[in-house]
C-alpha cells in the first residue's frame, strides 16, 4: 500500500478502480456474469461490445446506479460499494451522459455545484457562498477552453458541445478522478469532437482515468489505451489497443455461432414497393439557424414486395430516425423523396402515411406503440378506426370480430377482446401492436425491434408471421439489435453509420463480421 504514488508511469500504476467477479441479474435474467474491469490513472479504457452486451449495466454499477450486485469493487485499492450515484460522484466517479444530466433552466454555476454546494463557513452548510462557487467555476471552465462563458446564464442557452464541456467542468469541480463517457460524441460535430478529444488528452495528462464507450471504430483507435470486450454479459478479454487490430476486436465482440433457427424464407419477390431517394433528415429543432444537426444524410433504399430488408446499425446510426422520417413523424424531410409502389409519396405526417399504406412499429411499445389504458380490441383497431366506423359510428361487433381474428392468427394469449393491454405480457402486447398495423393492410411495414422484450417462443411466432406477411406481398424493413435475427430474417442488409448508408449485403454475402464492421466504420471496407 505504501507504494501508492502518483509519480509512477501510467502503465504500472495501481488502478484507480478495479472491478472483479461482477455479476448482475434483473428479475432473474442474467445481464452480467463474472466480469472484471480495471482502470489505471492516465488511460482511456474503451469498453466494447454489441448492443446488449452489458456495457451500460457495468458502468451503472461503477457509477452507483445499481448498488445490488455480486463481486467486488476497489476504489484506490480499497474495497468499496457505492450506495447511490451521488455517493459515487462524491468519491470521484463522474458520468458524462449521452443525455445530459444538466438542468436546463439553471445557471452554469448552479449546475456545476448542484448537490455539492459551497457554503459559507459557520452557516452550517445552509448559506451558499456564491463568490467562492463563481471563482471555482471560472477556474475549471478556463481550463476547458470555456473562458468566455457566462456562468450566470442558464445552460439551455448553450450548444450541446458546450454543455458537454460544462459537464466535464462540473466533474472537475467535484474533483473527479474517474470519468465515464458513454457515446459522448454521438451528438457532436467533427470540430466539437476534436475539441472533446483534446480535453480527454488533458484529463489523461492530469492522471485521471477514462472509461469510454463507443460504437465508432476510428474513435476507439484514436483514443484507447486499452480495450475490454464484453459479449452477452460475459468478459471476453482486455488488451492494449495497439495489440488488438480491428478485425480481431470484431471477432471478440461477435464470437458466437448463429444458434437460433429461423424459418426458411418462402416469399417471392415482386415489384418495388418502397423507394427512398437521397433522404436527409434534420434533428427536430435544429432547423435553419445555428447548428444543423443531421440525423440521416443522403440515404437511398429500395424494398420490393415480399422482401425483408434489414437495416443494420448501432446506437446513433440513425436507422430508427430513418423510419421516423419516412413515416412523417419528423415532418416533411429536409431533402430527398420517398416513393411507394412507384408513386411519389408526400411525407407529411403519420396520419398521411397511414393512409398511404405505411405502417411503423416503434421500438417502444409502451411509450409510442400502444395505448395502455385501452382494451385489446381498441388497440388492434387504433390505426384503422375509420374503416370500422362508417358514417362516424363505431361498429363494435365488427371491432370485436377483427380483434378475435387477430387474436387467433397471432395466437395472442388474452382473456378476451376487452382485456386491458396493460395487463398482457410483453410478448402479447407486442403482438397486439403488430396486429394494429397488419389491420391497416399496409403496403410497407417498418418494424423497429419487433422482438424486443419478447420471450423465445413468441419470437419464433413473430418470425413466422413476418414470413407470412411477405408472402402476402407486404414489404418489410427491419431494425433489430440482435445480429443473428438480422442475418436470419433479412433478404438484404443495409448498414448505416452516423446517418449514412455504409454498405449493402445480399443474404449470401452477409456475415456478422462484415455487417458489424460496416456499422462501426465511416466507409465500407
Amino acid at each position: 500500500m505504501s507504494a501508492l504514488s502518483t509519480s509512477e508511469p501510467a502503465g504500472e500504476a495501481a488502478p484507480l478502480l478495479s472491478m472483479a467477479g461482477i455479476s448482475k441479474a434483473f428479475s432473474g435474467v442474467e445481464v452480467l456474469r463474472d466480469v472484471r474491469f480495471d482502470l489505471r490513472p492516465g488511460e482511456v479504457h474503451v469498453l466494447a461490445g454489441e448492443n446488449g452486451a452489458g456495457k451500460s449495466t457495468l458502468i451503472k454499477i461503477a457509477a452507483g446506479v445499481h448498488s445490488e450486485y455480486e463481486g467486488s469493487i476497489h476504489l484506490h485499492g480499497q474495497l468499496t460499494r457505492f450506495t447511490s450515484p451521488h455517493d459515487a460522484a462524491v468519491r470521484g466517479i463522474s458520468v458524462i451522459h449521452q443525455e445530459m444530466s444538466l438542468i436546463d433552466a439553471m445557471s452554469v454555476v448552479d449546475n456545476m455545484f448542484l448537490g455539492r454546494e459551497l457554503s459559507r463557513p459557520g452557516s452550517g452548510g445552509q448559506w451558499l457562498d456564491r463568490a467562492a462557487q463563481l471563482r471555482r467555476a471560472r477556474q475549471f471552465c478556463d481550463q476547458l477552453g470555456l473562458g468566455d462563458i457566462d456562468l450566470l446564464r442558464p445552460v439551455e442557452d448553450y450548444s450541446l458541445s458546450v454543455k458537454n464541456r460544462i459537464e466535464i467542468a462540473k466533474a472537475l469541480a467535484w474533483s473527479a478522478r474517474i470519468f465515464v463517457m458513454d457515446e459522448p460524441t454521438s451528438a457532436l460535430s467533427e470540430p466539437e469532437v476534436v475539441r472533446l478529444f483534446e480535453i480527454i488528452g488533458q484529463l489523461k495528462a492530469q492522471g485521471c482515468g477514462i472509461i469510454y464507450i463507443s460504437h465508432r471504430m476510428e474513435e476507439i483507435y484514436r483514443l484507447a489505451t486499452r480495450i475490454t470486450v464484453l459479449r452477452d454479459g460475459r468478459y471476453i478479454g482486455t488488451e492494449e489497443a495497439a495489440r488488438l487490430p480491428a478485425p480481431e476486436l470484431i471477432r471478440w465482440m461477435i464470437g458466437r455461432e448463429l444458434k437460433t433457427h429461423f424459418p426458411p424464407r418462402r416469399a417471392k419477390l415482386g415489384a418495388e414497393r418502397l423507394r427512398v431517394e437521397g433522404l436527409s433528415l434534420l434533428a427536430p429543432g435544429s432547423t435553419s439557424t445555428g447548428s444543423r444537426r443531421w440525423l440521416v444524410r443522403d440515404v437511398s433504399l429500395s424494398v420490393r414486395a415480399g422482401e425483408i430488408v434489414g437495416l443494420a446499425g448501432l446506437q446513433g446510426s440513425g436507422n430508427s430516425d430513418l423510419f421516423r422520417g419516412i413515416f412523417g413523424a419528423l415532418g416533411p424531410p429536409a431533402q430527398g423523396r420517398v416513393l411507394v409502389d412507384g408513386q411519389p409519396f408526400r411525407v407529411r405526417s403519420p396520419r398521411h402515411s397511414v393512409r398511404q399504406g405505411l405502417a411503423y412499429l416503434t421500438s417502444d411499445r409502451k411509450g409510442t406503440g400502444l395505448v395502455l389504458s385501452m382494451d385489446l380490441a381498441r388497440n388492434v383497431t387504433l390505426a384503422s378506426v375509420p374503416a370500422i366506423s362508417p358514417g362516424g359510428w363505431v361498429q363494435e361487433s365488427r371491432e370485436r370480430r377483427i380483434a378475435a381474428e387477430h387474436t387467433q392468427a397471432l395466437s395472442i394469449r388474452a382473456t378476451g377482446p376487452t382485456q386491458e393491454v396493460s395487463t398482457l405480457s410483453g410478448g402479447n402486447q407486442q403482438k397486439v401492436a403488430l396486429a394494429k398495423w397488419i389491420e391497416t393492410r399496409p403496403r410497407v411495414l417498418l418494424l423497429d425491434e419487433p422482438t424486443r422484450g419478447v420471450d423465445v417462443g413468441a419470437k419464433h411466432e413473430i418470425y413466422e408471421l413476418m414470413n407470412q406477411w411477405t408472402e402476402q406481398g407486404h414489404a418489410i424493413v427491419l431494425i433489430t439489435s440482435e445480429m443473428p435475427e438480422l442475418l436470419g430474417l433479412s433478404d438484404r442488409i443495409v448498414a448505416m453509420h452516423r446517418g449514412r448508408v455504409t454498405a449493402e449485403f445480399t443474404r449470401a454475402e452477409a456475415t456478422q463480421e462484415k455487417v458489424l464492421e460496416a456499422a462501426m466504420a465511416d466507409s465500407a471496407p
Binding site: 413515416f327 413523424a329 403519420p350 381498441r378
Partner: protein, 349 residues
C-alpha cells in the same frame, strides 16, 4: 408451558385466517368495478337516510330539487369530461358561463331577439371561445392549464364589458332616470319550468340530454375513440394516424358549447345575466368529474361516471342543507369528502 403458548398462538392465527376466508366473498364483491364506482353514492344516500331532518329525504321534491340544483354544474361537467379524457383541463367554463349568460340576457331581453337565433348566437359564441383555447393548446402547444386560465380571465372581462358591469335584467333605466320594465321572453319561462306534473325540471332534462350526447360521442362515435386514445397516449395516437390537433379542438370546442348551454340555463333561472355568474363553478364541475372516477391523467373515464359524480355532489349539498349545516362547516366537509372519494379511487387501482 411455552409449547402450549405456541399452540394457542397458532390456533389464534388459524382463527384469524378462517375469519378472513369468511370475509372473502364480501371482499370480492367490494372489488367489483361497478360496486366500487357506486359505493360513494350509496354511502352518501345512507348518510341522507340517517340524517333525515323532517323526513325530507323521502319526498320526491327533495330529489327533484337536488337534480335541478346540480344541473348547471352537471352540464359544465359534461364538457369537462371530454377535455379531461384527452388529458387536458378547462378552467374557463365558469367564466364562459358568466359571459354566455350575460350575452343571452342581452340579446333576448334587451334586444328582444326571438328564442332560436338568440340561443344559436350564444351557443356559437361559447364554442368559439372553446375553440380559441383548443387552438392555443394544440397549435401553439400551450399547457391547457395556462391557456384556459387565460381564457377564464378574458371571458370574465368580456362578460363585464358587454354588460357594462351591471346585471342584465328586465329593469332598465330610461335616459330621464326612471326605471322601466321589459317583458321577459317566453323562452325564459319555458326553460325554467317543470314537466311531468311538476316532477322534473326542464334544466334537468337539458342536463340529461347533454349527458346523452356526450355518452354517444364517447362510446359510439369515431371521434370519441380518438378522445380516449389521445388522452391515453398522445404519441401512440399520433403515430397511429389520429388527428390530434382536431381532436383537441373538438374537446375544447364542445366544452365551450356546454358552458354556453349552462350559461343559458343559469340566465333563465336567475331571470337575468349576471356578469359575476359562474364564479368558481369550474372547480365544482372538476370535482364532479373527478369524483365520478374519470382520471385527470386522461384516457380513462366516461359520462356515466360524471353522472354519478353529479349525483354525489348534488346529494351532498342537499343533505347538508336539509340538516341546516352552516355554510362554513359545509365547505370544510365538502372538501374532505372530495379528498376521501378520490383516495378511495386510488385504492381501487
Amino acid at each position: 408451558m411455552r409449547e402450549t403458548l405456541e399452540t394457542q398462538h397458532e390456533a389464534e392465527l388459524a382463527e384469524v385466517e378462517r375469519r378472513r376466508d369468511g370475509l372473502k366473498p364480501l371482499l370480492n364483491f367490494l372489488q367489483r368495478p361497478w360496486v366500487r364506482a357506486l359505493a360513494p353514492l350509496v354511502l352518501v344516500l345512507i348518510i341522507g337516510v340517517v340524517f333525515n331532518a323532517h323526513r325530507a329525504f323521502y319526498a320526491w321534491g327533495t330529489h327533484r330539487d337536488m337534480l335541478r340544483q346540480v344541473s348547471v354544474y352537471g352540464i359544465l361537467a359534461c364538457g369537462l369530461t371530454l377535455v379531461i379524457i384527452t388529458g387536458g383541463i378547462d378552467l374557463s367554463v365558469g367564466s364562459l358561463l358568466g359571459f354566455t349568460a350575460v350575452l343571452f340576457a342581452q340579446v333576448s331581453i334587451h334586444q328582444a331577439w326571438p328564442a332560436l337565433p338568440a340561443v344559436l348566437v350564444v351557443l356559437v359564441a361559447g364554442s368559439a371561445c372553446g375553440l380559441v383555447s383548443g387552438e392555443l393548446i394544440s397549435r401553439f402547444r400551450m399547457q391547457p392549464f395556462i391557456a384556459t386560465l387565460a381564457m377564464m380571465v378574458f371571458a370574465r372581462g368580456l362578460a363585464k364589458t358587454i354588460s357594462g358591469g351591471e346585471k342584465v335584467s328586465q329593469a332598465v333605466l330610461l335616459p330621464d332616470g326612471s326605471p322601466k320594465y321589459l317583458d321577459l321572453p317566453r323562452v325564459f319561462s319555458v326553460i325554467d319550468s317543470k314537466v311531468l306534473g311538476g316532477h322534473l325540471a326542464v334544466v334537468s332534462i337539458i342536463f340529461f340530454a347533454c349527458v346523452a350526447v356526450c355518452w354517444v360521442l364517447l362510446g359510439k362515435l369515431r371521434w370519441g375513440r380518438y378522445l380516449y386514445a389521445t388522452g391515453g397516449n398522445e404519441d401512440s395516437a399520433r403515430l397511429s394516424g389520429i388527428p390530434i390537433h382536431r381532436v383537441k379542438l373538438l374537446a375544447y370546442g364542445l366544452s365551450g358549447l356546454m358552458a354556453a348551454v349552462a350559461g343559458i340555463c343559469q340566465a333563465v333561472q336567475e331571470q337575468q345575466g349576471d356578469p359575476e355568474a359562474g364564479n368558481g363553478y369550474e372547480l365544482t364541475a372538476i370535482a364532479i368529474v373527478v369524483m365520478g372516477g374519470t382520471s385527470l391523467n386522461g384516457g380513462r373515464g366516461g359520462m356515466l361516471f360524471t353522472l354519478l359524480g353529479a349525483a354525489i355532489i348534488g346529494y351532498l349539498e342537499k343533505i347538508l342543507s336539509i340538516n341546516a349545516v352552516p355554510e362554513a362547516f359545509r365547505l370544510m366537509l365538502t372538501g374532505g369528502i372530495v379528498v376521501a372519494a378520490v383516495l378511495f379511487q386510488k385504492v381501487r387501482k
